[in-house]
Amino acid sequence: MRHILSTLIENEAGALSRVTGLFSARGYNIDSLTVQATEDPTMSRMTIVTHGSDDIIEQITKQLNKLVEVVKVIDLNEAEHIERELMLIKVRATGKEREEMKRMADIFRGRIIDVTEKTYTIELTGPGEKLDAFIKALDASAILETVRTGASGIGRGERILKI
């Protein structure tokens, strides 16, 4: 099953490679990983999307907690949560495709953030499935380039991950 693990980790050189090293050494999967410093610059927040049986997820959580730089780990799946991913997608936009692309971007609430005579670059955020759906909705040959960040997640309501 797919899980989203949210991690608070010391913002120190090498911390990220400890996390990725752990996943590869123990044969766990990383579907995506995002990381950036929080409002407290000494701390980073990491969102790891992974999949595996409950036993594996339990081990991953324990192993992450064991890393000296990891302050806290929660499995967002354990309660309601929100996740968002950002995609930048460059598409061909010539002739009658140009109108069509703009319309599609509007339908998906994307924004066109860069324009040339031949291309649009569209910014789209949402849960991963929405981004997938957008890609599917386009003519594959019109897609020139896609960049996705992987999911960031946060608990719903009063649920807070902080030290």
Binding site: I9, D55, Q59, N65
Partner: protein, 597 residues
């Protein structure tokens, strides 16, 4: 900064001096190391101090093993110092060895100057990257002002929680640059808070489960040794009058001569320990991790229903290979103390009748004496050497070993009486560990008898340390069980590869006696069983103050029994000849097997 109160201009000292001062503050007695370009400043600072002694090994792997064994035999943190590049990579095997057995160690490695890092400088290797998967934690110190705090953190992390090695990589310019020195008295790391006390609710649950047990077993691992919980283990065993098995890493946690002790479990465990592991109904695992060499295949192990209490300081050890009923995360010493208190308060004990039957069963499994072997008039049996060694040393020696058959025979036949008496590479299984380990253990225990049990293969993996033993006058006794084979591998080839002894016969062995003598030691060659005891006495008594190599020419065909083959269950052992075909299950007249859960 000028101090207006004292009027003293505080002195700035070099990074190298800071390193030395920190080690002194930590009360370090010995640093095991080997010099080189990147650590020249540190070696110069060492030259000028006398707070600790430096032990010059002959290979960096040995520095790590010696520091590791120093720690295992003394409860203190082992320290080793190596140069960048090849010095650092040479030490990796030793670091991994310590990591697998959870040994507290601080490794200081030199690094090229910060300006050179990443430019493929001479003797540059990414030590933080190379060591990452085999350390508890590591640091690269880029600013001399961070040095003292980092060293403090390293000692703290290495020695608390589940212990382990910590590497501090120090670029050369950081050892030259200057800073004010102050060593923090204590340190708090917000992201690192190892557990101590166990959850009282869980401890109560465990006591209740013990109260329901008819066939209880206590299974003790290296965590009880590293956690200094031998007294508590012994008290628990005696309070409950329950049989107990110690793993390869746990040997000595309960006195090997105690009547509750069943021997070691696992691949080369005893008949009684393995069957008790398989057929117990409540298993109390203490600082043990259900590893593959102990329980073999989890499904087979669990095919006989049992309920499990698992005490460990590392939550990730719990439910890793085997699901447990009552997990207790905490320092084993604390948890056992609390558990014993609850048991005493409530008077909870295992089911009396059940326990009586269970002991009868255990005694029945003990009766055929699975460690008996056919003594020979002509050839020296390695088991016999171990038995005689025990007698000659009164079971009191600190014993290190290498890896192979000799290691298993030591574990089986030398009845370790106390924790930290048995020093071997259990997790990584590192050949070459024994001799440098013996040197480290001897330095930590100058008055103890120290024996290194080794094989003709293993001893050659760090034989150069005979030179270190000479320089530091460590009177270790090297018990070489010389079977002219890589015996353990040969045994597998005999059992599983149709006697095709591929590359396991050691032709062109050196003349070990001459070799030992060349290094300035005493050597004794022993070819006959009747000379074994006298030779041991000569080594341990006549040459008490000297390093002696005893070259025992042993029976080359001897195998280690019992044996649980890979993929088999604990009740599917290959048994020694005198027990072949013996039933590996409980007696029929015993009640209740499989009724629980």
């Amino acid at each position: 900064m000028f101090n207006y109160e004292t009027g003293i201009e505080p002195m700035e000292i070099s990074g190298a001096e800071i390193v030395v001062r920190c080690l002194a503050e930590e009360g370090v007695e010995f640093v095991f190391g080997y010099p080189g370009g990147a650590v020249l400043e540190i070696y110069d600072a060492i030259f000028k101090q006398n707070a600790f002694k430096h032990v010059l090994v002959r290979h960096e792997q040995a520095a790590a093993h010696a520091a590791d064994a120093y720690s295992r035999s003394s409860k203190k943190v082992g320290v080793c110092l190596i140069t960048s590049g090849p010095g650092a990579t040479n030490a990796l095997t030793g670091i991994a060895t310590a990591y697998m057995d959870s040994i507290p160690m601080v490794v200081i490695s030199g690094q090229v100057g910060t300006a050179g890092i990443g430019l493929d400088a001479f003797q540059e290797v990414d030590m933080v990257g190379c060591s990452r998967p085999i350390v508890k934690h590591n640091f690269l110190v880029k600013d001399v002002r961070d040095l003292a705090v980092t060293i403090k953190k390293a000692f703290h992390i290495a020695s608390t929680g589940r212990p382990g090695p910590v590497v501090i990589d120090i670029p050369k310019d950081v050892t030259i640059n200057k800073a004010e020195f102050s060593y923090p008295a204590s340190i708090a790391i917000r992201s690192y808070n190892p557990p101590t006390k166990g959850h009282p609710g869980q401890i109560k649950k465990a006591a209740q489960l013990i109260g329901e047990a008819k066939r209880p077993l206590i299974y003790v691992g290296g965590g009880a040794v590293q956690g200094n919980a031998s007294e508590e283990v012994t008290e628990l065993v005696k309070l409950l009058n329950v049989p107990c098995t110690n793993t390869l890493m746990g040997l000595g946690a309960l006195d090997g001569t105690d009547s509750h002790f069943l021997g070691m479990p696992g691949m080369h465990g005893t008949f009684e320990a393995n069957l008790a592991m398989q057929y117990c109904d409540v298993l109390v695992a203490i600082g043990a991790r259900f590893d593959d060499r102990v329980i073999s295949v989890p499904n087979h192990f669990l095919s006989q229903p049992k309920r499990i209490i698992h005490i460990d300081v590392d939550p990730s050890s719990i439910a890793k290979r085997v699901k447990v009923d009552v997990p207790i995360v905490g320092d084993v010493k604390h948890v056992l103390t609390d558990m014993i208190a609850v048991l005493k308060e409530t008077g909870i004990r295992p089911h009396a009748e059940g326990l009586t039957d269970w002991w009868k069963q255990v005694e029945a499994w003990r009766a055929p004496k699975c460690l008996d072997y056919a003594q020979s008039e002509e050839k020296i049996k390695p088991q016999y050497v171990m038995q005689k060694l025990w007698e000659v040393t009164n079971g009191e020696a600190i014993v290190t070993s290498d890896v192979g058959q000799h290691q298993m025979w030591t574990a089986q036949y030398y009845k370790f009486r106390r924790p930290r008496q048995w020093i071997n590479s259990g997790g990584l299984g590192t050949m070459g560990f024994g001799l440098p380990a013996a040197i480290g253990a001897q330095l930590a225990n100058p008055d103890a008898q120290v024996a290194c049990i080794t094989g003709d293969g293993s001893i050659q993996m760090n034989i150069q340390e005979l030179s270190t033993a000479k320089q530091y006058h460590t009177p270790v006794k090297i018990i070489l069980l010389n079977n002219r084979y890589l015996g353990m591998v040969r045994q597998w080839q005999e059992f599983f590869y149709g006697n095709r002894y591929s590359e396991t016969y050691l032709e062109a062995l050196p003349n070990f006696e001459k070799l030992a003598e060349a290094y300035g030691h005493i050597a004794i060659r022993v070819e006959k069983p009747q000379d074994v005891e006298a030779a041991l006495r000569e080594a341990f008594i006549t040459h008490k103050e000297r390093c002696v190599l005893l070259n025992f020419i042993t029976d080359e065909g001897e195998n280690v029994f019992p044996m649980v083959q890979n993929g088999k269950g604990l009740n599917q052992m290959d048994l020694p000849p005198h027990m072949s075909g013996m039933q590996q299950s409980p007696n029929e007249n015993n009640r209740d097997y499989g009724n629980l859960c």
